[in-house]
Symmetry: C2
Subunit: 248 residues, 2 copies
């Protein structure tokens, strides 16, 4: 594979090579799953040293664009997992001690947009999954842990029904950061009835295809949660309650 | 450093070690910049093999939590760069051919929230920077390329004035994906007067501390842009115009 490299350019050749290969992956010329040309071939055809090729390949591996089977030498093009990558934002956000208020504002921006889009694009399976979630929520009224899990699921199902992959990925790290606070609020206040009522209103509006109403109820629901946080005597401007971190 | 590891657990020891070290970094016990204990010390004190320690360290390096100076062996704790990490989402989003509509819906969720927060938290420097941006926009009315750059800057300044690090990071990949389309619209339609008028209304509302008005004008501004995209005969449900990718 002959690539357009320039020995006299400011940018080091390995970086030019990495960028040229990345461009081929982004444009679809190199598809996920495709075998990469061998190091020796890339070096020979472009008149560059093998160590330069290796450095470019390492950069692309770090970006999750190339994949090598454990202990083997064959390299394949891979597609970085958007959701896993998005969730990696949780770590620096925790290290930067983001506040509950910052997280809440972000989820209050994204989830009403998801509810609105869900009302415009809902399909039968999405509605069935949401109905099922509400039925299980009704059965779990006395169990705060179950309610928190069901609430996480409800909001994820809304994002799924919204059929927007950008919103779906971006809300993941905030959701991970948001829910430990939620657990605290649910166990210290008796908020289960209000939660169920709001979820029912949101789903109803989505079923009717009433995007404005779905959005408004989602906003009310999230405003309610913020009030709950304050009623539970938590400081909204303090660092958010830390999630139990999984190794990602 | 003695850590709590369990040889009989399901999880491999290297992963337990990585997780235990990550927890110490997240809790602040190991601060960014701190020197990591040596491989041999970690292996000896925890009664594990050096190769296990090395594997754990590699996992943390990949997550950007440990840093090693080029060619040296000393390891330091580092804080992953939230914004750089967030921007890495652009690559898989492009590979997944996200549509203009998905990107637009996400920015339409985040930027009005940023305008609202900016009206609540603005300070003198933020307002001066926004005033300066508007003055330069007025001077660039006939220059579509300059207008696109100034618009990117305007929206970033709003996110800065919002003083919300979560929203600020999450909007970066969408902004990167959004602006190539914007360039197309600006050069094919004469939208500069409407853009300036909207920016002025948004800034005015922020100055008055009128959060609702700031939010509403941001929504109008973004709705306008979507209309422009359609008027320019671009398909909102097609893949977004691809950005020129930088190597990140």
């Amino acid at each position: 594979m002959k690539l357009d490299l320039d020995n006299t350019a400011d940018q080091p050749v390995f970086r030019q090579l990495a960028q040229a290969l990345k461009q081929k992956i982004l444009s679809g010329e190199l598809q996920p799953g495709a075998r990469m040309p061998a190091e020796t071939a890339l070096a020979g055809e472009n008149g560059i040293h093998r160590s330069t090729v290796r450095e470019a390949i390492r950069a692309l591996e770090q970006q999750g664009l190339l994949y090598r089977e454990e202990g083997k030498r064959k390299l394949f093009v891979s597609r970085p997992d958007t959701e896993a990558l998005s969730r990696r934002l949780v770590t620096p956000m925790v290290m930067n001690r983001v506040t509950f208020e910052e997280i809440w504002e972000a989820i209050r921006a994204l989830d009403p947009a998801a509810a609105e889009a869900a009302a415009n694009r809902r399909n039968v399976e999405d509605l069935a999954a949401l109905d099922d979630n509400i039925a299980r929520t009704k059965a779990a009224m006395g169990d705060p842990d179950a309610l928190v899990r069901l609430d996480i699921e409800f909001h994820e199902l809304i994002a799924l029904a919204a059929d927007n992959r950008v919103i779906k990925s971006l809300r993941l790290p905030i959701s991970d950061l948001f829910y430990p606070s939620f657990q605290t609020v649910m166990t210290s206040l008796n908020a289960s009835e209000r939660l169920l009522a709001a979820h029912e209103k949101i789903l109803q509006a989505i079923k009717w295809g009433d995007a404005d109403e779905a959005k408004e109820w989602m906003i009310k629901h999230l405003n309610d949660f913020r009030k709950g946080y304050e009623l539970a005597s938590l400081d909204i401007t303090g660092p958010a309650v830390l999630p139990k971190m999984q190794d990602r």
